[in-house]
């Protein structure tokens, strides 16, 4: 049985997952995810030595598309769902602090 997750581990995972969580959410997920991980630990019972991992249930080979030019999707269709635009660009907050950029 694995050790339950710590609060720090959950906070770290939330950061990696780009989720801003409240303390209360962190605690709830800590308990729930620990329960699920305890169940998943069952996989440790099986001997998998020498078994090739199977990423896909049907072992496809890469399939290349035809290299033929085709019309792109119109810009207005792509921007229609954007939360903020400026002209024909997506608008976002500054990526860098003042003075840090080129």
């Amino acid at each position: 049985m694995p050790e339950p997750l710590t609060t720090r581990e959950v906070e770290h995972v939330a950061k990696l997952a780009r989720l801003r969580l409240s303390e209360e959410q962190v605690e709830r997920y800590r308990t729930q995810l620990s329960d699920v991980l305890a169940h998943i630990a069952k996989l440790g019972e099986l001997d998998v030595a020498g078994v090739e991992p199977m990423a896909h249930c049907i072992e496809f080979v890469n399939r290349l598309g035809n290299d033929e030019p085709a019309p792109a999707m119109p810009l207005e269709a792509l921007l229609r769902n954007a939360p903020a635009v400026e002209g024909s660009y997506l608008a976002v907050p500054k990526v860098l602090d003042d003075g840090g950029g080129a």
């Binding site: 997750l5 581990e9 959950v10 995972v13 939330a14 950061k15 990696l16 997952a17 780009r18 989720l19 801003r20 969580l21 959410q25 997920y29 729930q32 995810l33 329960d35 699920v36 991980l37 169940h39 998943i40 630990a41 069952k42 996989l43 440790g44 099986l46 998998v48 078994v51 090739e52 991992p53 199977m54 990423a55 896909h56 249930c57 049907i58 496809f60 890469n62 399939r63 598309g65 999707m73 119109p74 269709a77 792509l78 229609r80 769902n81 954007a82 939360p83 903020a84 997506l90 976002v92 907050p93 500054k94 990526v95 860098l96 602090d97």
Partner: protein
């Protein structure tokens, strides 16, 4: 009682009635819109309905059929057949939300391949069906826009994640519906609502335009009231698509042609693990009766050992969240989807984290966290790599089983429909899919068909029979299912109460 209601349960009869102009397509559509208007306030199976568009298409098909009395099939295999689609399959009209605030109001610039194929065949899309958020759940309760109810008992769940699609068929909103599966999301709601649901083999149906959850597990699947209806819908959507490189480059057999042929010396495998003590006794009894039906039809019944059955949920809850955490990384509030109101001085990374925390509900957040954890440095080998190794063992176990039998038989779900809020603990919800996840892990195909009704305090709740077959053996699967359907009265008896 409208004459159209029974036609929606028998797509072959509906097609004949439309082709012979005994019933107009507009009349069919009007009937469906009327039923939806009367029932959906309490059932909440649909998030969005397209009455005007549906009526326009009905008019066009009526006009086309009037000009083609000599050849009604020219209007398409599904000409005039009303269909509902799960809210994670994009259409270039209306909105597609995946049951999430993250995509509230999202208007796709394109339609999924399955939608194009449906509409080319003459089907009429009536609306979008509710689902668990991003198809993550087994009850349709995690939908951000409200839980869907089971028409057999409004205090119970319809199953999920494609609960709205199953309810649309059970409650007579439409003749056919599309759902999607990652680990049982078509079959389990089909079982709990008393309808037919198919999980096609991985690669059988294009995923282009299906919002990705677990890309190595996801498939679109049909719902209908009968095996024949579901087979007809599968016929239309199956086949290679240049826009989905994982759609198989294999011909599509004529599923309808052979539906009523006998399967010569059918061998039905019954895994000992499917006769678990954890099954509801009424479910267990219905399944034993189904075994006797097959025996009575001359099938050979063999016992099968599938010791990895109990490892399916663990394997699934590594692979599916890992893939989900990658797939859902695209929702950052920049190009589309929910964006938090920017705060002064906030940098981009904070905006991502607040937009995702606001846009995703708890179940989606849990699975993203789980997947992120298991793919993070130091844990990858212990979780993800090991799960992929067990996946191979499960696929090998299935392959060995299918050397001995044509189909595997068991219950679709261990219990009939459970009460709303009855599985508040995430792990108990995950265990609903104990009999279905391994099909997706192994890439096999499967079907759930009605096989009984359980008495529950004066109400009746449907029970689903689960049949699985080897990858791309849908023809045998459908024929075996049809044999059972024809030999029993269940597809006639299992009609949800109409109010």
């Amino acid at each position: 009682m409208s004459a159209i209601a029974p036609l929606l349960r028998d797509v072959t009869a509906l097609r004949a009635a439309i082709a012979e102009r005994r019933v107009g397509v507009l009349e069919v559509v009007d009937h469906c819109i009327d039923v939806i208007g009367r029932r959906d306030g309490e059932l909440r199976a649909l998030r969005e309905v397209y009455p005007e568009r549906a009526r326009r298409r009905a008019d066009a098909i009526d006009a086309a059929l009037a000009g083609r009395r000599d050849d009604p099939s020219a209007a398409g295999l599904l000409a005039g057949v009303p269909v509902v689609v799960k809210d994670n399959i994009v259409t270039d009209y209306g909105t597609t939300t995946c049951g999430s605030r993250m995509l509230d109001g999202y208007a796709s610039p394109y339609s999924a391949t399955v939608i194009e194929r449906l509409e080319e065949a003459g089907a009429i899309v009536l609306g979008k069906a509710n689902c668990d958020e991003f198809a993550m759940g087994s009850s349709t309760e995690s939908c951000a826009f409200g839980a869907t109810r089971n028409p057999w008992d409004l205090s119970r769940v319809p199953g999920g994640s494609s609960g709205g699609s199953a309810v649309a068929i059970a409650a007579g909103y439409a003749a056919l519906a599309l759902g999607s599966e990652t680990g049982g999301s078509v079959r389990q709601p089909a079982a709990l609502c008393g309808v037919v649901g198919i999980k096609p083999s991985y690669g059988r149906v294009s995923r282009y335009g299906l919002v990705a959850f677990g890309s190595s597990l996801d498939q679109v699947g049909p719902f209908a009231h009968s095996v024949g209806g579901a087979a007809m819908l599968l016929q239309v959507i199956a086949g290679r698509d240049e826009r989905d490189s994982t759609s198989a480059d294999l011909g599509v057999p004529d599923y309808l042609q052979a539906l009523d042929d006998r399967v010569e010396s059918l061998v039905v495998g019954v895994p000992v693990q499917y006769r678990s003590d954890a099954n509801d006794p009424r479910v267990a009894q219905a399944i034993e009766q189904a075994v006797e039906v097959y025996r009575g039809l001359g099938a050979e019944i063999v016992e099968i050992d599938l010791p990895l059955t109990d490892y399916g949920i663990s394997t699934y809850y590594v692979i599916a969240p890992a893939e989900a955490s990658s797939n859902l990384a695209r929702f950052d509030g920049i190009r589309y989807g929910h964006r938090a109101v920017p705060e002064p001085g906030e940098v981009l990374e904070d905006l991502y984290a607040r937009s995702r925390a606001e846009g995703f509900g708890p179940e989606v957040q849990r699975r993203i966290m789980l997947g992120t954890y298991m793919l993070s440095a130091g844990y990858y080998e212990a979780y993800y790599r090991r799960a992929l190794q067990v996946r191979r063992l499960i696929a090998q176990e299935y392959a060995r089983a299918f050397e001995r039998c044509h189909v595997l038989l068991g219950p679709t779900a261990p219990t009939p429909a459970f009460p709303l809020g009855g599985k508040a603990d995430p792990l108990s919800m995950y265990l609903c899919d104990v009999y279905t996840v391994n099909t997706n892990i192994a890439g096999a195909c499967a079907i759930s068909i009605p096989c009984g009704l359980a008495d529950e305090g004066g109400r009746r709740l449907p029970i689903g029979l689960h049949l699985q077959a080897r990858p791309f053996d849908e023809s045998v699967l459908l024929r075996a299912a049809r044999m059972f359907e024809r030999a029993t009265d269940w597809s006639e008896l299992v009609v949800a109460p109409s109010a």
